[in-house]
């Protein structure tokens, strides 16, 4: 989709200039680039910022990566990961503004049933672009002819049936979806020419006035469970990284996945405390004790960095030599962790039919071409592996 300036905001800039000829005329607009899922939510908050400060804001609705002329970008993990890890945006400034759930929009009174059943009678509009990737995979069993991809708010809003982030939902009955909510992460673009104003805007959005303006549209971030922790990975029994990864990545030490999560941002694009798995690399760890399948998740993988949710795949075994059984395939690993720099994702041994295990293999699920990577932390970045709920 080509970038589309939000007409209402452009008008707002002119209006502000009329009201405050001195301040607004002298100040260059802060350029914000936000994905379609979040743009409508941001508009009232940006308006509030302009009213409060006299600084105009120009909002472009487009995927945040590439940032192009933006000073501040807002996007979901799926859109922000490579921008943040490639230093196109400043990780240290990344702030989660809130999250938006996916909803299934259907005509009032439609019979209950899965999306596939609804698609049998009519098309289903789905958000296109990177932010919609998990939704499209969720609809993998639906004929492509029944799916209409779009990033246009009006088109999605007009659809009789749609699977969209809540801010893009049109008329009709809204049913909850089990899809992972999209997280609106904002960050300053590296080298922004209007950095000072952009930082003021970001501080406003993250502050009480901004939160109030956004709160009608964004849900607060979910709080992660912290109960029942029973230990961390004790020893590395095997690992592998492709030669290309070993040559390009800086974070190749498998010992970094042992112990509790300790990844930190040292500033200047440098980190410590994790192992980057590159293109399809893995690390196999001895948890030191037998993990039993209990009610709920059994294993938590901590994955760095903030605003990045690279997927990981987990296998389990009772022996260091295997066989290893698949527990979770390419699970997005971006759930926010309270009090810890890294994000995380949880796994239930039951998903793989595993009753107990002591050895866990964590494998990169991003699987992005090494030669095209362009960062020194390609692949999932594993900080720690934890036993839960024992």
């Amino acid at each position: 989709m080509s970038p589309r300036p939000l007409a209402a905001l452009a008008l707002l800039v002119v209006m502000r200039a009329d009201l405050r000829p001195t301040s607004a005329a002298e100040r260059e607009a802060v350029h914000v680039r936000a994905s379609a899922a979040f743009a409508a939510c941001l508009a009232p908050a940006l308006d509030s910022f302009t009213r409060a400060t006299g600084t105009p804001v120009a909002l472009t609705i487009a995927e945040p990566d590439p940032a192009q002329d933006a000073d501040l970008v807002v996007g979901d993990d799926l859109e922000m990961t490579r921008l943040l890890e490639g230093a196109g945006a400043e990780v240290a400034t990344a702030v989660d503004l809130g999250q938006v759930p996916w909803v299934l929009v259907v005509p009032e009174g439609s019979p209950a049933g899965p999306v596939s059943a609804l698609a049998a009678t009519d098309t289903v509009a789905v958000l296109g672009g990177r932010a919609g990737r998990e939704a499209r995979a969720f609809l993998g069993g639906t004929s492509p002819g029944r799916i209409v991809l779009s990033q246009d708010r009006e088109e999605l809003g007009r659809a009789r049936q749609a699977l969209v982030p809540r801010p893009l939902a049109g008329r009709g009955e809204r049913r909850p979806s089990e899809l992972r909510p999209l997280v609106a992460t904002a960050a300053i673009v590296a080298g922004s020419p209007r950095s000072a104003d952009a930082r003021r805007l970001l501080a406003f959005l993250a502050g009480p006035d901004g939160r109030r303006a956004l709160g009608a549209c964004f849900d607060p971030m979910a709080k992660s469970s912290t109960a029942g922790r029973a230990g961390y990975a004790q020893a590395v029994v095997d690992w592998w990284l492709p030669q290309c990864t070993l040559a390009h990545n800086d974070y190749n030490d498998p010992e970094e996945v042992l112990g509790p999560p300790d990844a930190v941002n040292l500033g200047g694009g440098r980190y410590q405390g994790f192992m980057s798995l590159g293109q399809g690399g893995y690390v196999t760890v001895d948890m030191g004790v037998t993990i039993r399948d209990v009610s709920g998740p059994d294993v938590r993988v901590y994955q760095t960095v903030s605003g990045a949710g690279e997927p990981v795949t987990l296998y389990a075994s009772s022996s260091p030599d295997g066989p290893f059984t698949l527990v979770g395939l390419r699970v997005p690993c971006g759930e926010r962790s309270q009090g810890v720099f890294s994000n995380h994702c949880d796994f239930d041994l039951a998903a793989g039919g595993v009753a107990s295990a002591r050895y866990l293999r964590v494998e990169d699920g991003e699987i992005y071409p090494c030669l095209s990577g362009g960062t020194v932390s390609e692949g999932a970045d594993v900080d720690a592996v934890e036993i839960l709920g024992q």
Partner: protein, 163 residues
């Protein structure tokens, strides 16, 4: 239950079985045709998508590897594999732009491939029947990712035949 993926720390035992007549082993190097067939569980065309590839040994530590690249323009489609005695296992990935197949479709893939290596007619190794676990999306040449279907599955099929 999901499929088992391994039996030793270096290279998990692949699930697909080689044909009775094929001899295991052989070095994967030189020109190949990679063919991907979407899982039967996917609501997308199951027409195999193929690509010209070039393979070369890549590293020996901590385990030997093989790099398999689209030929030419290897940066568009890359497979980095761990090389076992009689199997290959590794990640196959594209960039956001996807890659155009010999069938003139645009393909996006982020998946782990796993298959037994068998001796081709010229003595090199090849994979006739492998499994690909992960994400696959299709579109027309200028279409958006997923325009013709998106599917995550643990049982896409792939082959890597010597050419």
């Amino acid at each position: 239950m999901l499929p088992a993926c391994g039996s030793n720390p270096g290279v998990p035992t692949p699930s697909p079985s080689p044909s009775a007549s094929a001899q295991p082993g052989g070095t994967v190097t030189g020109g190949y045709t990679l063919q991907i067939t979407p899982s039967a569980s996917c609501a997308m065309t199951r027409t195999p998508q193929s690509f010209p590839m070039a393979a070369a040994a890549a590293g020996a530590s901590p385990h030997p590897g093989v790099q398999i690249l689209l030929d030419p323009n290897g940066f568009r489609l890359e497979m980095e594999t761990l090389s076992g005695v009689v199997s290959l296992r590794g990640g196959l990935g594209t960039t956001e732009a996807g890659v155009v197949s010999n069938q003139n479709m645009r393909v996006w893939v982020h998946a782990m491939g796993n298959g037994p290596v068998q001796r081709a007619g010229d003595g090199r190794g090849e994979i006739l029947s492998g499994l690909l676990a992960g994400y696959l999306a299709l579109a027309n040449l200028d279409g958006e990712e997923g325009q013709l279907g998106t599917c995550s599955a643990a049982d896409h099929a792939f082959s890597l035949r010597a050419r």
